[in-house]
């Protein structure tokens, strides 16, 4: 063995002179994202400072509900309470059975109320105009907890030009609070910024089905629909949507 080593070492020694790769490692590039996103956000101050107000403690409108961390207003929910299910008369008649009483869908949700980490519903709608330009939310659309955190992140990503990241964060928010129309509203705005007007309109429509009793938000959503229709060359539809926006307010 040792005999072999000698020529081998010699060869190696010879070769070391003409080795092409530098001794040491392959260059490693650490390409992180730009640091500027968050700074830019705080510089123009948008989301957090101008729009977010903590819900006033002790206001009657705060409805704690544990489902998904958000409160969804169910109109007509009160009516359901009055009708007990069952005990429908089964009287022989033309039908083989009577209608079982009780409206099923707007049933009162009796889940355990869990703390107040969820956000609270609109206090009195105030006259503060909605700052739709920056994606800001009007004063009657206050959010809290996880949804606020994720929307803020998305806002920062969008301001930094990372629309995919913003989209992704908003979808995360949508999973956390699937029935919060503001998330879909923001998603619609980002889709618009991404140039996907049809999806923007779809998200706004979906949001509208969840935005009962929230006129400011409805107006904003109709405005998104109007813009999306304009983008798609449907000016008549856009006008119609703008009218709806006015009616909502």
């Amino acid at each position: 063995m040792n005999k072999w080593l000698i020529p081998a070492v010699t060869a190696v020694a010879l070769l070391s002179g003409c080795s092409s790769v530098q001794r040491g490692s392959i260059p490693v590039v650490d390409s992180g994202t730009a640091v500027s996103n968050s700074e830019r956000m705080s510089a123009n101050g948008g989301f957090r400072q101008t729009t977010v107000k903590r819900p006033v403690q002790g206001q009657a409108q705060a409805i704690p509900q544990g489902d998904t961390g958000v409160v969804v207003m169910v109109p007509g929910g009160g009516a359901a309470v009055s009708t007990p299910i069952s005990s429908s008369p089964i009287v022989p008649g033309p039908a083989s059975g009577g209608i079982t009483s009780g409206p099923y869908t707007p049933s009162p949700v009796e889940s355990a109320p869990v703390n107040s980490g969820s956000y609270s519903m609109p206090s009195t709608p105030s006259g503060i105009p909605s700052a739709s330009s920056g994606g800001g939310l009007s004063a009657d659309e206050q959010l809290d907890g996880p949804v606020l955190a994720l929307l803020t992140t998305a806002q920062q990503q969008q301001a930094g030009g990372d629309l995919n990241g913003a989209s992704s964060s908003l979808e995360r928010a949508q999973r956390v609070a699937p029935r919060e129309p503001q998330v879909l509203y923001r998603l619609a705005q980002v889709r618009m910024a991404q140039g996907d007007a049809p999806q923007a309109e779809q998200f706004a429509r979906r949001a509208l089905t969840m935005a009962n009793g929230r006129p400011d938000l409805q107006a904003n959503l109709w405005e998104v629909i109007a813009q999306a229709r304009e983008k798609q060359g449907d000016s008549a539809g856009a006008t119609l949507a703008r009218q709806k926006a006015k009616v909502s307010l």
């Binding site: 063995m1 080593l5 020529p7 060869a11 190696v12 070769l15 001794r23 040491g24 490692s25 544990g66 489902d67 998904t68 961390g69 969804v72 207003m73 169910v74 109109p75 009708t83 299910i85 429908s88 008369p89 039908a95 083989s96 059975g97 009577g98 209608i99 079982t100 009483s101 009780g102 409206p103 099923y104 869908t105 707007p106 949700v109 889940s111 869990v114 703390n115 980490g117 969820s118 907890g145 996880p146 992140t153 995919n164 990241g165 964060s169 979808e171 949508q174 999973r175 956390v176 699937p178 029935r179 998603l187 999806q199 779809q202 429509r205 979906r206 509208l208 089905t209 969840m210 009962n212």
Partner: protein
């Protein structure tokens, strides 16, 4: 994967004779030297080429959804701990360091590990979670400050492997746990930091130890040689190969520093076999044997892994635990001798069990059904090589907790129904989705859920029976001027002559006619006669159009028998269809994948959430109401023997002819599940939709504990009081008055007051039918 074979070394010419031939000998050895030098140049190219480029091909890794934590989240402590166990969190008295958790009553303290997601980096952090009931009541940092949302790292649920492939999780030197490098060097190559590729001393020692028959704790090869052997050469055993190995080892040492070679070694070393998958590198070995990231391993685990290098199969801790334990303790002794660890540390480590995970638990890649779905979706966008070589990270919507519950439901139900003759031959498939996001969360392709094979959830095309009925009724309810939930339907026998002269004569399941029924009752009780009549009235082609709008892309012939579900669909197609019903009339393409990152964590592709409104929410509201009545009073009512009445659910049973297929599809607010039971040979089963699939579904819903269905009432829907016998408008105070939803304008005129004088305050009939956003 191709390995460069070492070419045969040229034999040195034999030298004969003495002095006169000396010059010849010198010349010859010079020639030999030149040949050798040429060979060395060649080897050098080989060494550098492979080492400087992409060293390994890495199969794509598939991850489950990361568990999100936030206050108000519905999550039981037990489910949370299941997730932590699957992620390999150590239970400790006090949580210190990433991957540790401490449970104290309703509070769990843990240190998350952090992870690179599409949206950005989730930092590792200490978190306190307090549970109240089945909810997260508090989420805070250890200093008490509130946290709004925290994400755990996602569970790895599998990879995309070609046949016979090496798999590894690449690690960097700074990710190794304490002791690993010292142990490796102490056991495998004590002179590692001083030799230049080969170590004559250790070779000599190895020979001496071998010949003297002593205990062999150290091989003759250096770490560098072992790396060269695994990385460049075949496993052929010959002197020439040994020499080539030595040369290459020296060349490697010449070009690269010790740290880099060591890092490569850590990633290359073979540590075990997982079926057809070869487990390479300590990174994957740590996950494979301990279910933990390498960086978290403790001394006894490090000793076991390093000890296994000598004979991964012989010292396999799962198959040969005694041998593995003996070997580990031997390694620990060496550490004490070498001064790597103190006697106390070694003593404590020796007392530890092997600590390897058992196979078949959550952490193991045993979800073939879902992985299959992911692969199919990926193949639409990537070439096979991209998936098996580039180390992509695939983020999915898979929910391991729901998957385990789905599997348990199938198993439990079959166990419970084992008495039924023929139930042994019945196969099962299941799809679980989140109707609010359109994401697939769990999937079962076979009754043996861990069995990879025919994926019935995606590929079994079976007649859907009455599962089609919501499409028939929805078609009618979209015409509020003609049909409401309380329209009358005749349930009398009928027969239709087809174009080919054949007569279609449907029958009810109980072979009886039910006279005249309310429209919703036809659906709730799944009456075939009234449904057929309704379907013929609205037109079979229109029903099929509705089916298409619900998201079913399959084409069906417009035969009347389609109205009763003669057409075949796969469980995932049924899920797509019901998804649209559950999601307010918005169709969502089923998604299993959220995003893809490169091996370096750079965003590559997103699979965005997309929706499309296909129906007016009002008609969906009505069909949901009728589907709720299926559960309350119809064919699905057995669910409430098990589930609480407060849990509003909607769904539909389905049974094909002679009970060859047993279906149930239904949803709550946040969970949609489709269950199919049937035989692969299409034989008869002992189950109807209600006695078979619904039982699995019910069991699943009980475990999943979903939120009650709660669709906001669209503003063009009104609740009207009607007489439960006649369907005529009635005052709320009248006996037998019930409230029913109607699309505005289609409700019956309000009835007169019966007992009290309260005037009916209903909306005027003249109210315009509000068109939905157009």
């Amino acid at each position: 994967m191709t390995r460069t074979r070492s070419p045969r070394t040229k034999k040195k010419p034999p030298s004969k004779g003495l002095n006169p031939w000396l010059s010849w000998a010198i010349k010859l050895s010079l020639v030999g030297l030149v040949v050798l030098a040429g060979f060395a140049v060649y080897l050098d190219a080989v060494v550098q080429e492979k080492f400087s480029g992409k060293r390994w091909t890495i199969p794509a890794k598939v991850y489950a959804r990361p568990l999100e934590l936030f206050v108000g989240q519905k999550l039981s402590k037990d489910d949370f701990l299941t997730e932590l166990d699957a992620l390999g969190y150590r239970r400790e008295a006090v949580s210190n360091g990433p991957g540790a958790a401490a449970v104290n009553g309703n509070t769990v303290d843990l240190n998350t590990r952090g992870f690179q997601f599409y949206e950005g980096l989730e930092k590792p952090q200490p978190v306190r979670v307090r549970f109240s009931g089945d909810y997260v009541a508090e989420l805070s940092a250890t200093n008490g400050s509130k946290l709004s949302v925290v994400r755990l790292e996602p569970l790895m649920i599998g990879g995309i492997y070609p046949k016979n492939l090496e798999d590894r999780i690449l690690i960097k030197l700074d990710q190794v746990p304490p002791y690993l490098l010292e142990t490796l060097v102490a056991v495998e190559d004590r002179d590692y930091y001083s030799h230049w590729g080969v170590s004559p001393k250790s070779i000599a020692r190895a020979i001496w130890v071998n010949t003297s028959g002593g205990k062999m704790t150290q091989g003759g090869s250096t770490l560098t040689q072992q790396l060269v052997k695994n990385f460049y050469l075949t496993s052929e055993r010959s002197l020439t190969r040994k020499l080539t190995e030595a040369m290459m080892a020296m060349l490697l040492e010449l070009h690269y520093d010790k740290k880099e070679i060591l890092e490569a070694y850590l990633n290359e070393v073979f540590v075990g076999q997982d079926g057809q998958r070869a487990v390479h590198g300590f990174g994957l070995a740590s996950q494979f044997f301990f279910g933990q990231p390498l960086s978290e391993l403790k001394l006894h685990q490090v000793a076991l892994l390093v000890g296994m290098v000598k004979g991964p199969s012989y010292y396999n801790p799962r198959r040969n635990p005694e041998r593995a334990l003996e070997r580990r303790n031997l390694v620990l002794d060496v550490l004490e001798q070498q001064g790597v660890a103190t006697a106390e540390q070694v003593e404590a480590a020796k007392k530890m069990p092997l600590g390897v995970t058992t196979r078949g638990k959550l952490a193991d890649s045993s979800f073939p059904g879902f992985i299959d779905l992911v692969k199919r979706q990926l193949r639409e966008d990537y070439r096979d090589e991209d998936l098996t070589e580039e180390g992509l990270r695939i983020f999915t919507s898979f929910d391991p907790i729901l998957q385990m519950k789905a599997e348990a439901s199938v198993n439990d139900t079959f166990k419970r129904l084992a008495g039924r003759k023929g139930s042994d031959d019945v196969e099962a498939a299941m799809v679980v989705t989140n109707p609010e996001t359109g994401e697939v969360q769990a999937m079962i392709g076979s009754r043996q859920a861990s069995y990879a094979g025919f994926n019935r959830a995606l590929d079994a095309v079976r007649p859907i029976g009455s599962l089609i009925k919501p499409a028939v009724y929805l078609t009618a309810l979209e015409k509020p001027s003609q049909y409401t939930l309380t329209s009358w339907l005749s349930d009398d026998p009928l027969s239709v002559k087809g174009a080919n002269g054949q007569v279609w004569k449907p029958q009810n399941y109980d072979r009886r006619s039910h006279g005249t029924v309310f429209l919703y009752q036809g659906l709730a009780h799944s009456y075939n006669l009234s449904t057929s009549r309704l379907g013929l009235e609205v037109g079979v082609p229109n029903v099929l159009k509705t089916l298409g709008r619900l998201g079913v892309t399959r084409e069906f012939p417009a035969f009347p028998s389609m109205l009763l579900g003669a057409g075949g669909m796969t469980p995932i197609e049924v899920a797509t269809m019901y998804q649209t019903l559950a999601n307010g009339g918005f169709n969502t393409p089923m998604r299993g994948i959220r995003s893809v990152l490169t091996a370096e964590g750079e965003p590559l592709k997103r699979y965005p959430f997309q929706i499309e409104q296909r129906f007016d929410p009002a008609s969906i509201y009505l069909i949901q109401n009728a589907m709720q009545r299926v559960m309350r009073e119809g064919t699905g009512s057995s669910v409430y023997n098990v589930l609480p009445k407060t849990l509003t659910l909607a769904g539909k049973t389905g049974t094909s002819n002679d009970s060859r297929d047993s279906w149930f599809a239904g949803f709550s607010q946040d969970v949609l599940a489709v269950v199919w039971l049937g035989r692969d040979d299409n034989g008869k089963t002992p189950f109807t939709g209600a006695t078979g699939a619904l039982q699995v579904w019910t069991s699943f819903m009980r475990k999943a504990d979903p939120l009650p269905l709660d669709m906001p009432q669209p503003d063009n829907v009104v609740q009207a009081w009607v007489d439960s016998r006649t369907g005529q408008g009635s005052d709320a105070n009248c006996p037998g008055a019930v409230q029913m939803p109607y699309i505005r304008g289609s409700e019956p005129p309000p009835g007169a007051a019966c007992a009290s004088e309260t005037p009916a305050s209903g909306e005027s009939v003249m109210d315009w039918v509000k068109g939905w956003m157009n």
